[in-house]
């Protein structure tokens, strides 16, 4: 997953349920939440097990992501090889969908997932593409996340999450982003 580098402030604008569409300087800006989720270690798995085995695993993982995106009311904007870019208007369904995806995947396959989530104003580009800092940040956080881990900026946390908690993950330098970002790790609050 490569995205253009840009400067992202420590606290990107959060959405918290607002879905305003704003036209500024001739471009349409919308508030969205993005998640990038991908298979951790997929390249090594493919190298070890072969292309056919990798495709079988990927079919299962994609099916899981597709099914849970649908029930949570969020959209798969793009498939990215062993990952996906997920978009939603409100943060909570995106976060909860990703937590469910990782939990369900853990029971279905031996390949861990990892994800990054971020919210903010973005430009709606050519109808169905999104350009903006929140997209870049979500992608970079996915790259930073460990096995079965979801990272997000602390600024986008809400108290409305269902069975999901945010655990402080400290201030980290995110590659391609000038200012350090206060992060949280999102995880199940079932226990």
């Amino acid at each position: 997953m490569t995205v253009s580098e840009s400067r992202i402030p420590d606290t990107p604008s959060s959405v918290h349920g607002v879905s305003d569409v704003v036209r500024i300087g001739g471009v349409t800006r919308v508030q969205r939440t993005f998640a990038f989720i991908d298979v951790s270690g997929f390249t090594a798995f493919t190298d070890r097990e072969g292309d056919a085995a990798a495709v079988l695993v990927l079919e299962k993982i994609r099916g899981n992501i597709r099914r849970l995106a649908s029930v949570h009311g969020v959209r798969i904007a793009k498939w990215l090889g062993d990952g996906a870019m997920i978009v939603g208007v409100e943060p909570e369904p995106v976060i909860e969908a990703v937590v469910d995806m990782i939990e369900a995947n853990r029971e279905m396959t031996s390949m861990p997932l990892r994800a990054g989530v971020a919210s903010g104003d973005v430009i709606l580009f050519e109808g169905d593409d999104h350009i903006g800092q929140a997209v870049n940040l979500a992608s970079r956080l996915s790259d930073l996340a460990g096995d079965d881990e979801i990272l997000a900026p602390r600024s986008m946390m809400t108290s409305l999450l269902v069975n999901t908690r945010a655990v402080a993950a400290g201030e980290q330098h995110v590659p391609g982003i000038a200012a350090p970002v206060q992060l949280v790790r999102l995880e199940s609050a079932e226990d």
């Binding site: 649908s70 029930v71 909860e96 969908a97 269902v162 999901t164």
Partner: protein
């Protein structure tokens, strides 16, 4: 809200509406029973935005009650004969 064209919310509501007093399910069990295994948090989302559903009959997989509503949750469960201790149902 859990939405989309999957029929998820309709199926979840059917499962929840069929629960009788004293019957307890976890979010994950409701999702699986509705035909959507793994969608536990989407069940919670349906409960959060819907009225007239027996939300108190649903607990987490560890039996924990709804955070912030423990007293009300426990009261409703105990009125149906379900034992609660330290914020969790007692099996």
């Amino acid at each position: 809200m859990a939405k989309g064209d999957s029929g998820f919310e309709t199926e979840v509501v059917k499962v929840l509406a069929a629960l009788r007093p004293g019957e307890i399910m976890t979010y994950g069990e409701v999702a699986a029973e509705a035909g959507f295994p793994g969608a536990a948090r989407a069940v919670g989302r349906v409960l959060r935005v819907s009225d007239n559903l027996p939300w108190w009959r649903i607990v987490t997989s560890t039996g924990r009650l709804v955070p912030g509503l423990e007293a009300e949750h426990a009261g409703l469960l105990e009125s149906e004969g379900v034992m609660v201790k330290d914020g969790r149902i007692v099996n």
